[in-house]
Structures are given as structure tokens and as C-alpha cells.
Amino acid sequence: MSDIPTDAAPAAASHAVKGRSLWDDARRRLMRNPAAVASLCVLAVLVFLAAFGPMLWVHPVDEIFRDRVGIPPTFDNWHILGTDTEGRDLMARTLFGLRISLLVGLAATLVALIIGVTWGAIAGFFGGAIDDLMMRIVDVLYAIPFIFFVIVLMTMIDTPDPFLKLMLIFVAIGAVEWLTMARIVRGQTIALRKKEFVEAARAAGASPLAIVFRHIVPNVLGPVVVFATLNIPVIILAESFLSFIGLGVQEPLTSLGRLISDGARQMINAPWMLFVPAVTMLLTLLALNFLGDGVRDALDPKER
């Protein structure tokens, strides 16, 4: 089941982060890292294109140009990246695919974060039997193949609404990715729960849940942010695998993964159909990875 590198961010920073000034320091360090700054700029452009590109571009995403099916890049009628095998403008499709892929990555990571952080923090904070039970559940889920989950989840909830279907992909993928997150956060929480400020809060009579969410969670955010940045590319790749087996985003919506797996089929006769989305994906993932590495280095106190 190695089609998805489910664990690309295993060593997300392992040091607790405290106080506001540290975040300022981190930001300053990040800005001094040229690779991270360049990635930030590239990402800003990509996010802008994903958000507004489909609206600004001359062709809508789903219009079929019946006399221009599968043409190579041309300035004629502004098909500057050509059209796909159904006669739709490839520039419009790529912009839209970028939007969906980023959305999938963000939303799935968000789902993973919410479940993972809550689960991990509660298990780590309470410890004992609760911790044992919760982590045993994580172990069980961990040992079930990723695609098994996704295939089952994708087919179980069958909805005519394509947008709902899309949200389902996010949830399905996020619902699997949270396991790693839970493990990281639990480790962090165990390290934190004996610290003075937690003891102080406890002495002041704060309820355990309040302590978890008000004091522990904000303090484990460092590694969480790193994990999130590095997790988005993993999810974008996972979605491309799902598209390859036909379970990804469905027509007329599209994603970079879907464009790539469609393009790979046309590799011989229409290389641009693979080249365009592949380069877009490469850029996006490179930028996200470099940014993730930069954030990790910036948050790591030992870097000083």
C-alpha cells in the first residue's frame, strides 16, 4: 500500500514552543531563509491564481469548444495551453484544478488537525487508561491500509451533489491523516503536562478540558504547523492516486491529480496535457515542502 507516502513528516519538529516572542523570532528567522521566502512568494502567486484565476481567465472551466478538441497550445482563441481531450481550455482546467487541489490539501489537513490535536492532547493530558485506550484505537486504525478506508468511505456516502462529494474526499483523506498528528501531539502534551504553567492553571481550579484547550493546545502549535505544511503535499499526491483509480474528483470538476492522471494517458500523442498540470503540481509541492522545512528550521530553538 505504498501508493501514498502517508508519513512524509514524521520528524516534524520535536521541541515545545513557548511564549509570543518565540513566534516573532521564528518569523524573523524564516524571513532570513531565502528558499522559504521564495517559496512563500511562489505560493502567494499560486494561491492568487487558484482563488481568482478561474474567474479572470477568458474561458470558463466547463465550456466545450467543439471545433477545437485536443489542440496544442496556440494563441488562436487564447488557448495558450491548448485544450484537453474533451475540447475544454487547458488553462482554465489547470487553474481550476489548482484551486481544487489546494482546497483538498487544506481541508483535509484541517480535518486531520482538528481530530488529531484534540485526540492527542486529551490522550496525553489524561494519561493512564484513557491514554491506553485512545492510543490503542490509533494503533488499530494505523494498521488498516489507507486506500481501504478511502475506498470504503468514498463509496459509502453516495451523493448527487458534486461539491458534497468533494468535501467527502477531504474528510475521507483527513480522517486517515490525523493518526500521525495525534501521535505527535500526544508526545508533546506528555512533555508539557508537568510544566509549571499547567500546574498553576490546575491550582487555580481550571477544568481539565479548559487546561487542554487553553494551555496545552496553543503550546503544541509549533510542530503542528510544520506537520500541516508538509502534510498538504502528501494529501495532494494522495488525491492524484485516487484519481488514477477513478475515485478522485469527478467530472466536471477537476484537480491537478486528475489532470495529471488523464494527461499521463495522452503522454504520447499530446504531451502538453501532462506537462502543464505536472509542472504546476511540481511547483506547488516544491514550494510547500521548502516552506515546511523553513518553518521547521525557524521554530527549532537549536538552530540559533
Partner: protein, 541 residues
Amino acid sequence: MPFWTDRRRLLAGAAGLGASASLGACANGRIIGFDKVNKTLDIANQGEPLSLDPHKATGTWENNIIGNMLLGLTTEDAHAEPIPGMAERWETSEDGLTWTFFLRSARWSDGEPCDAHDFEFALKRILNPETLSEYAAILYPIKNAEAVNKGELPPDEVGVTAIDDLTFEIRLEHPAPYLPQLLKHYTAYPIPKHIYERHGNDWVKPENIAVNGPYTLRRWWSNYIVHLEKNPGFYDAANVVLEHLYFYPGNDVNASARKVMSGESGWSTLFPLSQTAELRRALPGYVRIAPWLVCGYFSFNMTRPPFDDKRVRQALSMAYDREFVVEQILREGSDAAYKFVPPGIAGYPATARYSWADLPMEERKREAERLLRAAGYGPNNPLRFAFSHRNTSDNPRVAVVVQSDWTSIAPWVTVELRGTEVQVHYANLRAKNFDVGDGGWVADYNDAKNYLYLLETRTGDQNYPGYSNPEYDRLMRESDFEPDAERRAQLMFEAEQMMLEDAPICMSTFGSSRNLVHPDLTGYEDNIEDQHRARWFGIRS
């Protein structure tokens, strides 16, 4: 052209130097897909066989293998026409209900005689409900076959008898002039009774099997290879040229095409249509596209609104631009379908046709809008429904056009696409949990009934639109009992034309078979059933 004049090869030389040097003499370990010296052929088949037992097989890719191992009473020539197989000749009674077959004296590959008793045993086994054959239903024209298969009669009641070792009698429920077509289907193959009695369902394993056809099973490695070897005991072995056949499951048609391009496969039973032009260029003489017994159609769910209204169904059928789909989406080899039964079906006048088929597209769209308005839809009562399609192969690509065509009838028509896995799709269709759903049909034998029965009321769940027209049922029933072939065809034609006007289904395309075949492989003939038995193959030197 010497290799240094070709820039690409030169680059290859540089990059590959390390690899080729260290691997040395093993000549890059390539398989020669069509080896004229050792007489072997590597075949990229469409998929992994689910079973090699003819009583349990269901797919054309299984047929491609099994049909080289076993032979029925009739068999097919290179053009897929029925010719005498194990039966040398046959006689039909006046009423067309009793057929007597006179068998040749032949042997199984283990030396035991293959005779009428094996046929009787095989037909009784496949129709026995305990065998769990998913395909036995196509033998229902045989007397009592349906009742036995449904468990209402004991298996011995099937209307087949071995009169003596070499005489075999089949009695029918109703006249079936297409019986020789039907009997070459794998469901009617004999199986070696003596081996089945020893090994039960494991008779088909390579270590047990005996065959009566040109090739025997040597090895079956799941999801990788099925190896067949020439059977010297086959009655026509003297004319079988190829010694070994290797079938690979080509789940990815693009990878299969690349295998043919690299010379590792001599025949691929499928290739991606979108690459026809490229493949013609890269592989001159390989590309074989031929009409096939396959059609694509969309079912309207007639059991609930809006598709219980004939006008809505008709409007959508009219507004769908089949010509664009076959010319630009599927490209070469498909035909726009304006009727259900594909052209080229044996003994059937292919003249049924939508009455509006010749109108120009613009006019059809206008008429469609008029029909929808007449049915009560409009800006204040928009038409909204989902088009369910399979997420495999070219189906999503066609769906995109369908959506675009239907929504362009009027701004108040909205179509949602709903692509699902094949299993989910058919589960929904059977449960009538859909609005419009796509589907495909490949005929099992070359006869119009094999299409038209789908829309009979008694067909049940598989009549996906839920079409029920007593007149249609009556015509079909009458055709079953009509001994005269021409009159029978006429009855079916009337039924088809009437059904087309009712529009329970929207016809889409007639497909084609797409093979990549080594040009030096002789005896491969394009045919409408896409049946190419290796016993006819030869080598052009």
C-alpha cells in the same frame, strides 16, 4: 539508419551505457512478443480471468483464453462464423425443436475419448443451480433449461441426450435458428467428465485439466500470466502453427500499448482510442479497428418523474449530439447509434431508426425544448436531474458532453454528473436509484434477440429503464416461437422500432473492437464478434 545518425538513440547510448555494459550479453532481457523461431505469442489481454472454467467464466477476456482450450459442437472460423467443431454435421427436425448432432471421434488431451456423454454431462452441470453459473441463462432456449436452472426440475430433465457415443440430441423450448451461433459460446463447451469425477471443481487447474481444443493449460499465475501450450492430441493439430501462448492481464491499456511498442507483446486485445493516430505512426500495420457487437446507451428511469413522461425522454434523446462524441471524443472506430441493435447482426434488417435521426442538430434542440415545454417544464418549473455514469474508461468523457448537450437545450435544464464505481453504479441501476444512467452491452451471440430481450418486462431488474409495453412483449414472445427466420426477424424489427419511439433508452454509440496485431501474424481476421482463435494463426516470414 545507423544508430549514431539518430540523435535520440545517441542520447540513449550515452545514458544507457552504464546499464547495458554491466548487463552485458543478456540482450536487455526482453521478451520477443511474437517469436517466429520459437513460435510463441505474448498477448496483452484486457483483464485477469476470474475463472477458466467455462461454466463460471463471464468475460470476453476469459473467452479469449478458454476458447483456445475447449471446443463446442460448433466452433468459429477466423471470421467468427460458426463452423462444425466437435460435431461434424447436424440435422434439424421439421418443427425446428429437435437437433441431432453427429460427433467426430476425438480425444481429450489425456487420451480419453471426448464424446456425447461429456456434452450431456457439461450441459447438465452448467444448468444445475448448484454449479452457480452466472451465465447459464443464455442456454434457456434448451428444453427445461430455465426450470432446471431455477431449481424447479432436477438437472436430469434438461433436454439433452447422448443417444450413443457419437450422437447427441438437443431438444428446444422453441425454434432457435441461431442455435449453431449459440453452441459455439463457451457455456456450451464440453468438460472432461472423467476428470471432473476425480477432482471436482479443481478439474480446471493446470495439473488436472484435459482439453479437447488446440491448446492446453500449462500455468496460471494470478494477475500475471496464463500460459497455454499446443495440444498435440487436437484433431486438427497438424494445422496449428503457434506452440505457446502467453496471456497477460493488461489492466492498464496504455501500458499494454507500450508493451506492443517495445516489441514485448505481439497482440494487444485493446488500445486507447485517443491514441489511434499516434499508434498508426509508431506501429505501422498493427492497428485493427472493426465493428463489434457492442453498444452504449443511457437508461431513463421510467418508474418516476420526470422520465415517466415520454416527451421528456424523447427530448433528451434528440438533444444529444452523438456525432460529436464519435468524431471528437471517441475519435476513430465508433459509430453514432440511432437504434438499439448494431448493424451487421446476422439475419437482421438493420433498418430500425429514430424517426428524427436525420434532422439537423439545431432543429433537434428546438424540438427538444418544445417537447419539454409541452411536458410542463420551463423557467418557472425547471427540469433538474442527475446523469449517473461509470467512472471507468471513456465514460466520464462522454458524460461531460451529455451534460453540455442537455443543459444547452434551455437555461432551465440542469444536469448533475454523478460518476461512480462500476459496482455502485449497477447496484443503483438495479435498485432504480437513478434518473438517467449509462450502460453498455456486449452481445454473447450474434443475434438481435440478445439485445432486444433486455427491454422485455420479464427481464426484471436488468431492464434498467423499467420499460413495460405489452405490445413489445407480445412481439418478442411471438418471435421466439416463429420457426421462419425471416418472419422472426421482421417481428423483432417491429418491436425495436416501436421501442425507439417510446424512448425508454437513449442510444449513444456502437463501439468497435480495437486490437494491435503484429503484421506478420497471419490468420487474424477482423470480425464483428472480436473472436480470434489462435488455431487459425500463422507466421508470415
